[in-house]
Symmetry: C2
Subunit: 207 residues, 2 copies
DNA sequence: CGAAGTATCGAACAGTGTTAGGTGAGATGT
DNA sequence: ACATCTCACCTAACACTGTTCGATACTTCG
């Protein structure tokens, strides 16, 4: 019923526009997205884009949704139950790597930076769903207070945004990651993974 | 020489423009600053502003400088030497309060949000000076590793930005502040203020 | 008073997102 | 096969933006 080839063609063009939008943003910055330039890159004029997206913000919204889905996929390797401290480490690193690998995407997803842009309810639901999943994951490790969830998000976004803003391409804050995870886990009551007979300090894995 | 009344008048108008710019940004958002509207509010037309500021970004730059100076004054109650854990707490709270009390100013000072705007070298020096002062303050408390300075800034900005973005006007992240400061101080080796009966981590050892 | 300096203005330029209305091609119905 | 309809795309235009140019008043000074 909705398999009409005409719809397939439309969806294909939509994807093409979105891909060009990402490329343009990577080149000119997130706010440097110009509809006339975007249209030129896909062989159109600016007004023609409006038959595929209701507005410029609708394009940002679709990009936002894409980014959320990508993040979900990037974090999907984590189990839903019985998270260990090692999982916390791996999760933090995966999130950090996801963010720093594409600052423009990070800016769109996590910084409220575009003047006037707000994700639509359906798109925003992707973000809250992801946060709900994180909530259950933390709960499975015995971290059930919202205080701890809030602390976890604040720490992770704090590190990543400092990394992106003040040392792009470097590792000045990336190197703090493991220590911070241990700090959080100690505070939140996530037991160390290795059955060490010396629980005084963090078990330093030779890396 | 620089006391000519004509210069005083110019400086006065400059201040008037800046005040109107802050007010306009508070109403329309940081990016909602329109030169024509700004000029209208001070009884001018847009081109006249260019005899007081070289560009719109120059206005943002002056606002950035004002914000940095205000932050310096807001944090000036802290001593330069021998910071106690109580000082860390008070400093964190003061910074947090400064940021959340004016999200627009926070956005200008700490988020790289305005497309294309970068503070001028002289203005940026205000920021680096402030960070240097923080560095010496931390060092006076035995916290001399750059890792710890970076961790401190990441934690504070992480908490504040989460507070502003996800719970404006509330206290969801504000309530975490004291715990986080203690967490950091324990990790960085800042001794507790009270002479506790538990001296496990009180030794101020430099590594 | 004339001259110099200062403050402000209108008009215009090159952009921006967005809307209205029109054109031509291809699919569809009879 | 012809008429109809849908879809994709266009041009023109609007209201806005920051910014520049050149001219016009007003102030101050020699």
């Amino acid at each position: 019923m909705s398999e009409r080839p005409i719809d397939r063609r439309r969806a294909e063009t939509r994807r093409e526009i979105l891909a060009a939008a990402w490329e343009l943003c990577h080149q000119e910055g997130l706010a440097g997205l110009s509809l006339r330039e975007l249209a030129r890159r896909v062989g159109m004029r600016a007004p023609s884009l409006y038959s595929y997206f209701a507005s410029k913000d609708a394009i940002y919204d679709a990009m936002f949704a894409e980014g959320q889905i990508e993040l979900g996929e990037h974090m999907s390797f984590l189990p839903d139950d019985d998270l260990t401290r090692e999982d916390f480490r791996a999760g933090a690193q995966a999130f950090f790597e996801f963010c720093t690998s594409d600052p423009v995407r990070y800016q769109l997803l996590f910084q409220r930076t575009l003047p006037g842009f707000e994700p639509s309810p359906e798109t925003y639901a992707l973000a809250t769903d992801r946060l709900e999943r994180l909530e259950t994951q933390l709960a499975s490790a015995g971290v059930s207070h919202r205080r701890h969830l809030d602390l976890w998000t604040a720490i992770l976004t704090g590190l990543t945004s400092q990394q992106i803003s003040n040392d792009p391409g470097g590792d000045r804050w990336a190197r703090l990651l493991d220590d911070v995870v241990d700090l959080f886990c100690d505070h939140a009551g996530v037991p160390p993974t290795e059955p060490s007979k010396n629980p005084r300090t963090t078990t330093r894995s030779r890396k």
